[in-house]
Amino acid sequence: MNNRLFRKIKNHLFFGLILLSAALVLIPLFLVLKFVFVQGWSSLSLSFFTEIPKPVGEVGGGMKHAILGTIYIVLLGALIAVPLGVTCGIYLSEFGKSKLSKTLKLTVDLMSGIPSIVIGIFAYLMVVVPLKSFSALAGGVALSIIMLPIIIKTSEEILKLVPTHIREAGLALGLPRWKVILFIILKGSVSNLLTGIILAISRAAGETAPLLFTAFGNMYLSYEINKPMATLPVQIYTYAISPFKDWQRQAWAGAFVLMVLILTLNLFARYVLTKIKDKKGI
């Protein structure tokens, strides 16, 4: 009898521990969200989106240059990573059993584990050193290496969802394999592949470390690919560690905009991807 009671108590204690740890995970999430949204919203103004920073000491100004810079550099990174990533995704889904594709899979896993600061140093050595200047291009290269494994993985998964009988139907019509892949499998999955790309973009847009010594950042609006360019995360970092109250406020506003941007993209992509998988019954 006593033993049974003991077991029951243990069972309840365990459930209590589980609830406690769920709280331990969710409370920081809500605190971060609340902090960013409350502080960010109150620091936000229209001029944040339309102005570039004012000189030190003057109140006001905004991060127009950094918002546009983030979009510019992320798209530049996507321009490099998407063709490579989708091609590798095709290779893995269509010819997944060869030795090379196994090596590629391992490479993808290892690549997604490289610390982002190390990627930053690599991009610095590869692009900044030869061109002798921090540049938007270097930032784009760094972000493309971050996006690449994500795009390869999601593309492979998405293309694998295309049922085999569709491939066979194409081949039965006498089409060569490349036409089946290009005009049937790929064309039918374009919107799904885009979702994977959005997921990669949402990850890259928040990266700071690889941009610190590649895109570097500046205080004015620039569209030149071979010059330093401001980005939201780096601008937030510069402002957050500064002693000026007004700059710290701006950092919060920047964090708010960055979070809205990233969470929207991320949640949208996740929602669509689960929908796709549900429909295919996986």
Binding site: K10, V108, L212, L258
Partner: protein, 304 residues
């Protein structure tokens, strides 16, 4: 001239192969470039770089031990906090909640992973570090000072603060892998345990945790990999001073944080090369931990 469809296919096949080879070559190339730029430091200092305790760029003295210590201690504390929590949350989602609710909670946990590390850093500076200084540190000092790890004044930022934020950041990594492993457990295995008269706790212990142990350990190793390489949040919260201190309240520096802080200002060749040496070390540490995680999973699936 029209190519035969077999030739056309060969063209496609080899294009795909070449591009895949390119991506594999990229990884090797990253390794090569890092090694090449670290070479001056490697050839000058060799192994003594790793055990050297003095980091003084002005005097051209470079020892990486404080940073290796900082990286290991923060990741280790983060793992100690995050591992049980992640496993329990994964169990909560997969075993306790009805499907609809569990989806929402799972989504919330994964949302933590989507938050950029700079935002965690910002939150850490303005929310967690004052909280640490005024509430958590005095509390730990009052009740746990006998452990010997909580000594000296807390300035809010330091090893413990950085580790706590790291723990929050790696929970989603560990728990989402654990969850996918728990979902592989066949239903009849759980029912068999219930049929023996187990309570839910005993069922989870017997039928869920024990068979998943190796999967869980690979999830933990992957979480470790993430913690080792995390840069921004740690840089903003650890205090950035290259010392090896006993107290968890004291500031320190990690391999990633010193790179973030010093790389743009490094002006002697040896300084730059030493930082590249650090990058190479960090690269290999994370590389090995990911490889380890992979091999655990591989052995695990062979056993099944």
């Amino acid at each position: 001239m029209k190519l035969k469809s077999k030739t056309q296919d060969a063209v496609l096949f080899y294009t795909l192969r070449v591009i895949s080879l390119l991506v594999i070559a990229l990884l090797l190339f990253i390794m090569f470039v890092l090694t090449k730029s670290a070479w001056p430091a490697i050839s000058k200092m060799g192994f003594s770089f790793i055990i050297g305790r003095e980091w003084n760029p002005v005097e051209d003295q470079f020892g990486a031990l404080p940073f290796i210590f900082g990286t290991l201690i923060t990741s280790f504390i983060a793992l100690i906090i995050a591992t049980p929590v992640s496993i329990l949350v994964a169990l909560f989602i997969s075993e306790y909640l009805p499907k609809n609710v569990s989806r929402i909670i799972a989504l919330l946990v994964e949302m933590v992973a989507a938050i950029p590390s700079i935002v965690f850093g910002l939150w850490g500076i303005f929310f967690l570090s004052p909280l640490m200084k005024e509430t958590i540190a005095p509390f730990l000092k009052k009740y746990f000072s006998f452990i010997g790890l909580f000594e000296g004044p807390s300035f809010g930022i330091g090893i413990l603060t950085a580790s706590m934020v790291l723990a929050v950041m790696i929970v989603p990594t560990i728990s989402s892998i654990c969850r996918s492993i728990f979902e592989l457990i066949p239903k009849h295995q759980k029912e068999a345990s219930y049929a023996l008269g187990s309570t839910k706790f005993e069922m989870i212990k017997m039928a869920v945790i024990v068979p998943s142990l190796s999967g869980i350990s690979s999830a933990v190793v992957l979480g470790l990999g993430r913690a080792l390489g995390e840069t921004m949040a740690v840089t903003m919260l650890i205090g950035n001073s290259p010392v090896i201190a006993k107290s968890l309240f004291s500031p320190a520096a990690t391999m990633a944080s010193v790179m973030a802080n010093e790389y743009t200002d490094a002006n002697t060749p040896l300084h730059v090369s030493s930082l590249c040496y650090l990058a190479l070390l960090l690269f290999f540490i994370t590389f090995l931990s990911n490889l380890l995680a992979k091999s655990i999973v591989k052995n695990f699936s062979r056993l099944r």
